[in-house]
């Protein structure tokens, strides 16, 4: 009899769960009771996508997105603005799409996160409570690793251009103001950093602009790494085919100190008209102040089934701020994929259901090597239950055979589609 009762209870339980599901489904349309409050901080590729997919998949989840900027400005494609091939308006999109699907968008700065109390404070004093928090804080800089860098960045004399927005506009102005015969010197930090192929793409498109606009000028690429960190063969070919005599690449050239217009390496001083320093990076300030940097005091460790921080349960961290799985790049595309894993998991956790045990994420990064030729690197990552991490699938992924105009069209279509997907455009 005991056994029967268990069976009956099981049945009742299942029936109740079914009823609850269908009620929640209806409530999603009619604005009924919420299944939980999720606050997303950071409206880049990761955070915007998380907010969008929580609404798309979650029915009646209360979703608030806190973002400091009024608009989304894309880092991918921003190098084309530096080359003069695109305008800021081409890489800027609004948050109106997210508002139209029911995301509450709050423009503001988060000053503190109370992980135990499940609430956060905004500059200006307001507080927002949550059941689950999503942090997509991007990267911030470890400027103290290069002597003189912080004051040079603060004064605006030296630009990083590694967060798209006012930095992109200002760096384009410096390049335009450079005299013909001038030197554009770019400093690349040791990996890992945001967007592995990004610096080499930038070198190419800036050289492409200078080649026609200021043909006596030079691009110096000073790389702290022992070799090109992404699409090596293809970038080497682009340097040789398009920019011989204009672009010079030097490996193992780590910037130690900045002084005026001079970048000091270990054995050499580099004088340039424009110094573009991409500083060493770590997870964004917000992750640090919340005490989440539990890997090398630099990145956030996550549970890959839920994207939950291994330092703070209930806080899901996305994108560049995470300590990556093997061969997983810090890219906007990957942040969008992290966000979908997190959104699916958060909805199931709020409902008390099991999360997906076999998630998959994939990445595609296009790079332009001239104003009209692009190439890609792609990878697919399946969750490995034994090692509790994502692993690339042997035999899958790879790079282009050659940069060409077809892939440039795909690159721009990729941007249009991922912006629409992330921002509900």
């Amino acid at each position: 009899m005991k056994h029967v009762n268990l069976g009956r209870r099981h049945w009742l339980g299942a029936g109740a769960a079914l009823a609850a599901t269908s009620l929640a489904g209806c409530a999603g349309l009619s604005g009924g009771p919420s299944i939980g409050r999720v606050v997303v901080v950071g409206g880049g590729y990761g955070g915007a996508t998380a907010a969008r997919y929580l609404k798309l998949w979650g029915g009646n989840v209360d979703v608030t997105l806190v973002e400091r900027n009024a608009d989304f400005v894309s880092c991918p494609i921003s190098n084309l603005v530096l080359g003069g091939y695109k305008q800021m308006s081409d890489i800027t999109r609004g948050y109106g799409g997210l508002k139209s699907v029911g995301v509450k968008v709050v423009q503001g700065d988060v000053t503190a996160i109370d992980v135990a109390g499940k609430k956060l404070r905004l500059a200006g004093g307001g507080e927002i409570a949550y059941d689950r928090l999503v942090l997509s804080p991007g990267i911030d800089f470890m400027a103290d690793q290069v002597g003189g860098l912080q004051p040079a960045l603060d004064s605006g004399r030296v630009l990083h251009g590694w967060k798209a927005g006012p930095q992109t506009v200002a760096l384009r102005k410096q390049i335009e103001a450079m005299p013909d015969g001038g030197v554009f010197a770019m400093f690349i930090p040791k990996a890992p950093y945001r967007c592995p192929p990004g610096p080499y793409e930038r070198a190419c498109v800036v050289a492409s602009y200078l080649k026609t606009a200021k043909p006596k000028s030079k691009v110096l690429v000073l790389d702290a790494n022992p070799e090109i960190t992404s699409k090596k063969g293809l970038f080497e070919k682009a340097f040789k085919d398009h920019y011989t005599g204009i672009l010079e690449y030097r490996p193992n050239a780590e910037l130690k100190e900045l002084s005026g217009n001079v970048g000091k390496l270990e054995f050499e001083d580099v004088r340039a008209d424009v110094l573009n320093v991409i500083p060493p990076q770590r997870a964004g300030d917000l992750a640090r102040s919340a005490g989440l940097l539990n890997i090398n005091n630099r990145w956030v460790g996550v549970n890959w089934l839920t994207m939950e921080s291994t330092a703070a349960p209930g806080v899901h961290v996305l994108g560049d701020a995470t300590f990556p799985a093997p061969l997983m790049p810090k890219s906007g595309h990957m942040a969008n994929q992290h966000a979908k894993v997190a959104a699916a998991a958060i909805i199931q956790l709020l409902k008390g259901e099991a999360v997906n045990a076999t998630p998959v994420v994939m990445n595609t990064c296009y790079s332009f090597v001239t104003g009209r030729d692009a190439m890609h690197v792609a990878s697919v990552h399946q969750y490995d239950d034994k090692d509790k991490t994502f692993k690339t699938v042997p035999g899958s992924g790879g790079v282009s055979v050659a940069a060409n105009q077809i892939e440039a069209r795909y690159a721009l279509s990729w941007a249009e589609n991922i912006w629409a997907d992330s921002l509900a455009l």
Binding site: G7, W11, W57, H376, V380, Y410
Partner: protein, 104 residues
């Protein structure tokens, strides 16, 4: 009486478990399809030069991806991406896209 109840409870359990498995499969199909959305649009509604997948028959999507995997269909990138998914995963995501209303 005992046997009857026991048998019906087993049946109910089987039904409930089948329902649960189906829901999990539906979520899995949805999640897998979402990995394609960065290029092929949310729920397969692509823009620009990308191929829309919404409303395309499951058989056609499975066949296209099989051709990319085998190399029968030359590609710039899909031959590399298709090899990252199992045949079972491809069947699931194809069924998801087939069930979406076609792009306008």
């Amino acid at each position: 009486m005992h046997r009857l109840l026991r048998r019906s409870s087993v049946l109910i359990c089987l039904l409930a478990c089948a329902g649960l498995a189906q829901a999990q499969n539906a979520h899995l199909a949805r999640n897998l399809a979402a990995t394609c959305a960065n290029c092929h649009g949310t729920n397969g509604h692509a823009r620009g030069d990308m191929k829309p997948l919404a409303g395309v028959s499951a058989e056609k999507i499975v066949a296209m991806l099989a051709d990319f995997k085998s190399g029968n269909q030359p590609a710039t990138i899909m031959h590399q991406i298709s090899k990252g998914y199992t045949d079972e995963q491809i069947k699931l995501l194809a069924a998801f896209f087939a069930a979406q209303p076609a792009s306008k």
